[in-house]
Point group: D2
Chain length 294, copies 4
């Protein structure tokens, strides 16, 4: 068992901390706004990052965006300023490939081992310890941290050297964005063409283009349920990061750019705090059809 | 058991006829170019459409495009000219919603019952009798023809009135096109960003955005295998039909239009006879990366 | 001088009628909602289409969409029901190529000569008699009607046989939509990148990519002026018609589809009655920048 | 009159040097591959960058891409290594906003004044001294260098602080790319719909969406002339830079991404050394129409 600090108690961090406690790890938590929500049962609460990271085997954080990682990890009085070897740092946030590389370089310069280890899955999977973790970094560090990652996940995948996890996450989210966009186009076209959407989903569910996303999100759309498990504003941010990485490496992602446009429209329509699937609502609105079946 | 005529012995028709024979139906086949390929064992070969359709319970055809259906079904000496009630006509081709409606009207005027019943699945599913059939037409006709459709398929879905099958097929192919396009963008981005594609597919296969298409096509792409089970030129035709239907009913399908553009580029690159997944080759070529892992 | 009936007194019809009177033609007007607005000075008002078309040399209409043309031209008690040779019908509306063809066929069957003659230009040009007319139909009919068309326009262009005018109009509006979309992307990128938009427009105005649209719309955007001369909802309709024609003839119009998406977003944002240039507002909103310079 | 070094004698550099000589400046030229083409009459040829930049009032270069600027300006034995105040450096290349910023920082650290001053216009304008220059940097430096820039251009525009010229260039090229793409879509749609393209261009030329590009490129397309004045591969590079800048500042450029896709397809079709307008050839090929009128 390891001593683990979890920084940030948003949807993801809270679920992870709970599962780490359940797995028998010695867990310390720190949150930017202490007391805002009840602390994690079985975990010690630290008053500062400095206090949280001291003497840990592993320090991990799963924060919402580049700005949060810059503040918590690289900022004044952040992790980098206080962490000491042999503590290992694990960044589980979905951030730009560029910032992941910058973080690796900054920790390496200070002699600290680091992994980029973002996760697939959202609220439900975080709470159930059923995330999928994709890891970049050297094999030895990965081997040391693996049991900790396994405590929060269904499977853990070592993708390659530093930055590979961050890049894999963006590739995966490109696929997720494409599935949401295509489901939205498909359901909207089906409804506008007069089909019964329940039957449409029934067919989709048995073909070789079925996906858990089509099944789960499809059912929610018919129930008019866009309650957030993965907020649309985060998906929008991720598609931006995909565009940035694609521009850097010269890869064409026109489909992802189409999803970006729909997400942008959803943001300006005030849907940013709903589930990412609310982009489907936007597409339906453009065709002046209603996808809910009551 | 029924007396069934199968018109057209392409990839789909041949597989269907074989499975109808195996299920004990009395099968007559007709092909535009007789003798081009060996006939179907256990089936009687007719020399003309007139001869083929005479006295059948069901006449079915699964042809490649609108032009072929116009010729075989509505053309001079075609099905419409010779078929007599109570024979039921089943069009299993993927064609425009407009032509499907036109066919229904033409047969109805002659007092002939008709179903539009296109299928999902390609070469492998046709041979194995594992297609998924989506049917439009009235419930009584559907009930009569159902056993015949079940002989060629894994499941049969009655979508609603005349034309519902044709429309569902286009909705489904929108999803297929989106999955091929997104897999192509994802693998290209992954490779350009330095990831190991076998590991990428391994991760994708366990997440909630996994699909049989990502698994199957992904593995084939890594093996540089684009041998056709569903030809790219047919997928391109289908995306055109999707665009046409979408324009008619006022549904936005920008993602499908992106796939259309890639398919167009693949056509001019001379890849039309390869598998539809060859659009992935085009995307990779744009980024100047090679996705094959040997 | 000719006897001319003008059906429909919207922005375009009213301007045309006024200029026809000014040119010395004998003008009769008819409007669906009589009395809604003051009639056209110097023109006789008819109480019905039947009365309006009787004994005219030319009957012309410039209506807002396919539905309006179906009602006024082909509907019960519409033009087709009452017009008698040698009166010539001129449809100046922007409608689908398909409806234009249908209209030509319907009038031809009744022995009535018809031209499709949509116009470029909007409110200002209609009022000033400065429209650009693009005409489809036979040369003799064109020659007869030409003086009437010249009275409302800066130039008149005979494009070819029946339907050529309608098609040219859609091609032109594809270019207009692309210029609005690109101006929106350019100004938004410029502002987000910190440039002074007045200087940007100054540069654009001297290069070889300058256009009157960039100049005029650009200045209006900086003045935050989206008062309608050509309503966004009409532009959206036109882009739909472009998509439909493109699907029919197999032409790729991915850029037009991008504009369609932005226009759809503008519609759901409630901007349909503003000028078509309000799609630029939508693009700016997506980037969270404000283009107005006060 | 000033002492000016021109580094790089490609299409742009050669034209600029010639016009600087003609304007009475004392010109030194340097080329990476000396002797490859005859030197510029009236200019002194230097054997190295070190020799070329020594004692000049102004050192300018207009190179093909980021890599070339890195080599010539920032590389070992490049401009940065040898230039001495008060010589002013002017980078007229079209490069990424990021590299422009990096260059400014590098020169500033060495106390060298620098301007980013890319140009609109291509071969013809460079030879005729009719370029349009957009400049970023401080006003004093601009004032000193202005006469030199005026010698090669029709107009010179001070856009704002360091980097403003580089950014304006990308904004402008977004508009150029959109015009090429829309002209290609428009002409292809027109031809596929049966219109006479000469008449189409005639109409376009009189409307308020006319542009010198539609006129000039349109005529060349009808003459099947794609001889390069601005190579397609450079346009493709520029659209990549636009995508990168847009991703950084969070601006949506879906239309530019569509043009990127067409340019990518043109590259893989082997058209990279033709004029950028060859993307129109690609669009026409997708619709299987030929735009040349012989």
């Amino acid at each position: 068992m390891s001593a683990v600090a979890v920084l940030g108690l948003g949807t993801m961090g809270r679920g992870m901390a709970t599962n780490l406690v359940a797995a028998g790890h010695e867990v310390t938590v720190w949150n930017r706004t202490p007391g805002a929500r009840p602390e994690v049962a079985g975990a010690r609460a630290a008053a500062s990052i400095a206090e949280a990271v001291r003497g840990q085997d592993v320090v991990l954080y799963c924060l919402s965006d580049d700005a949060a990682v810059r503040a918590v990890a690289l900022g004044e009085d952040g992790v980098l300023a206080h962490v000491v070897a042999p503590t290992v740092v694990v960044d589980m946030s979905t951030i730009s490939a560029a910032l992941s590389d910058e973080e690796h370089a900054a920790y390496a310069e200070r002699g600290i081992a680091m992994l980029d280890a973002p996760v697939f899955g959202s609220k439900g999977e975080a709470e159930a310890g059923g995330l999928w973790v994709v890891v970049g970094g050297d094999a030895d560090t990965f081997a040391r941290v693996r049991p900790v990652l396994e405590a929060v996940s269904e499977s853990v995948h070592h993708m390659g050297p530093a930055g590979s996890g961050a890049r894999m996450k963006l590739v995966g989210n490109l696929l997720v964005a494409a599935q949401l966009q295509s489901l939205g186009e498909g359901l909207t076209l089906a409804r506008a063409a007069g089909l019964d959407l329940a039957k449409v989903l029934e067919v989709v569910a048995v073909t070789d283009f079925r996906t858990p996303i089509y099944d789960g999100v499809g059912a929610a759309v018919l129930a008019d349920d866009y309650s957030p498990s993965f907020a649309l504003r985060l998906m929008r941010k991720d598609v931006r990061l995909i565009g940035e990485l694609a521009a850097q490496v010269g890869a064409p992602v026109p489909g992802a750019m189409v999803a970006a446009e729909t997400l942008d429209a959803a943001m300006t329509a005030g849907l940013g705090d709903l589930n990412a699937s609310a982009l489907i609502k936007v597409l339906a609105g453009w065709a002046e059809v209603d996808l809910a079946q009551r």
